[in-house]
Subunit: 345 residues, 2 copies
């Protein structure tokens, strides 16, 4: 028979264990476990004694141990975004968090800096915590990343673009269609020399899709694209001003510009204000996302409405559903988008 050494005599440790609670309450660890997970199985008298002991020692269950037992997953959902410092992603994170927190799931967060190599390392690192699921903004992954995600047999939701063949599930909108729709809107307003500014498209599927949507719209309308009106700029407000400048000093000037990256449109609109240009009139502007600040600017940018918060919510819902059902199939949720005509085109 094994002698039970009172745990309370151990060297001072950070957290108390279930055994310490059990000793204090004069019961076995199983009874403590029951009080915490299934109180109805324990007599009222014992239960209150245990609860008192839990309070007194400030006991907090060790999820690592519990998770181990089931060789299952932790209560963490791994989220990987291109950057943590971007208000678009912030809205998605908030949507995820709001939807998951009620289910006892917490967020584990990282950024891949727009690199699939970094993403691979991050997935591996996160995987060691045995997360309950993954939410990835990127839709292009290294072979090893894909392999790890498949092997884990855990729900994976991609959210950056409505890809045809997701690793597992996808909750997003079509960057291409959205871009197409906004370009068509510009064409419908009578513009024919429509400039296009995006972030560098090399290795960026979303930017590629957006440019394709733009080109497709021109083609459908029998408008010949003008190479010199298609630019790539680094992210940031300043690029909006710069893109505007470049496209307005060409021999063939643009009559409208579609800014398909981050805050370009805002930067361009503000630059127009500085130059005293009328928008529209001297130039028409359209922007991809509708930033909160946009609504404060006069005029309000013509843009797309992408439901960033809802993408987070829906991704959470899909994760929860798939976790419960354990089925591994493909689910595609199209959250869609809409064109906000507004005032700058």
């Amino acid at each position: 028979m094994k002698e039970i050494r009172p745990e309370s005599l151990r060297t001072q440790v950070a957290h108390s264990t279930m055994l310490q609670v059990a000793e204090r309450a004069g019961v076995s660890t199983m009874t403590v476990s029951r009080v915490l997970r299934n109180p109805s199985l324990v007599s009222a008298e014992t239960r209150s004694r245990v609860q008192k002991a839990v309070e007194e020692v400030g006991y907090i269950p060790n999820a690592l141990a519990g998770g181990l037992r089931l060789s299952s997953t932790s209560n963490l959902v791994a989220v990987i975004l291109p950057s943590l410092d971007n208000s678009l992603y912030s809205r998605t994170i908030q949507g995820l968090s709001d939807a998951l927190v009620g289910h006892g799931l917490n967020l584990m967060l990282g950024d891949n800096r727009y690199s699939s190599i970094v993403e691979e390392r991050l997935v591996e690192s996160f995987m060691e915590q045995r997360p309950a699921g993954f939410v990835l903004h990127e839709t292009v992954h290294s072979a090893k990343t894909k392999r790890m995600l498949m092997l884990a047999r855990v729900p994976v939701v991609e959210i950056g673009d409505l890809v045809a063949r997701p690793i597992d599930a996808v909750v997003s909108y079509s960057n291409k269609l959205a871009s197409h729709a906004l370009t068509m809107h510009l064409i419908g307003r009578g513009y024919r020399r429509i400039g296009f500014v995006s972030v560098p498209i090399a290795g960026n599927r979303r930017a590629q899709q957006r440019r394709e949507g733009y080109l497709q719209a021109l083609k459908n309308s029998r408008i010949t694209p003008i190479d010199k009106l298609i630019l790539e700029c680094e992210p940031g407000f300043a690029s909006g001003a710069r893109g505007l400048d470049l496209l307005m000093s060409k021999q063939v000037k643009a009559d409208a510009i579609f800014f398909a990256g981050d805050v370009f449109g805002i930067g361009a609109l503000l630059e127009c204000q500085r130059r005293g240009w009328r928008v529209p009139g001297d130039i028409a502007l359209a922007s991809f996302d509708d930033y909160e600040i946009s609504a404060q600017l006069t005029p309000h940018l013509t843009c797309l409405d992408i439901p960033r918060y809802r993408i987070g919510q829906e991704a959470a819902r899909v994760l929860l559903t798939r976790s419960a059902a354990k089925d591994i199939g493909r689910e595609r949720v199209n959250v869609g988008f809409s064109v906000l005509p507004n005032q700058t085109a």
Copy 2:
């Protein structure tokens, strides 16, 4: 003697275990463990055999089991912010992440919705994962929250205000001094009827401190504060416009307004533009934080420069130092602030 059932025959599971790797390589789990943690202890020949097996089965260590063994902490740092959807906090998160990722630590993120009750639940939930440390933006906590954090004996860094007596460590700036400095700047420019707009101060220590700094500056300059020029508004751009409107339609109009909350200042400046008011001239404006968008606006708002990214970096540094040293004392890092005179006052 216990018969060893080949693990590879178990029902299909998500992740492979160290035992599976060991069997494949024809060694014991200890050897696998050594190859992963301390390769130099294993012969080159065995090592490469094990590494091959690891590759083949796509083995990823189970941090839950490893952490259990040491009854130690996970490689997660718990971060609790008032809201996830705020670009100020985003910068801090980015700073944290950038500084922690190289040390193998990942972020666990949650928002307390500006409530210490929510914070308490979140701390408890996070604590079950046995995080390596906590970063809290809030500086006011429930008694239970404090107790849990003390018991855990884990580094805790508060970042929302440079409190005198942090739970453990604090990395921040003084909201009161910053507010005082900017108010003094306005006074130095000759303004005497300085309005003050903040978020509701009830239960918000940071907002309280900011108001105190403002009042102190007035007092030091022998200016009698005018109650009607002190407002509280809900967060958001619109409140900037609203605050401006309220303070300019009083009997005693403000000649300058200090917006001490989030994006108020930007909202007010844009409202001035809509109204065709000169800034300064018709009204002087000052704002707390220097948002990225501010630099794009003309004129650029007179404001404070709070090093949000650096707060994240430094908080990470303090966490890492304290984790290593295991000392529990109090560390206070003042990242400071500076007044950016700019153009609106």
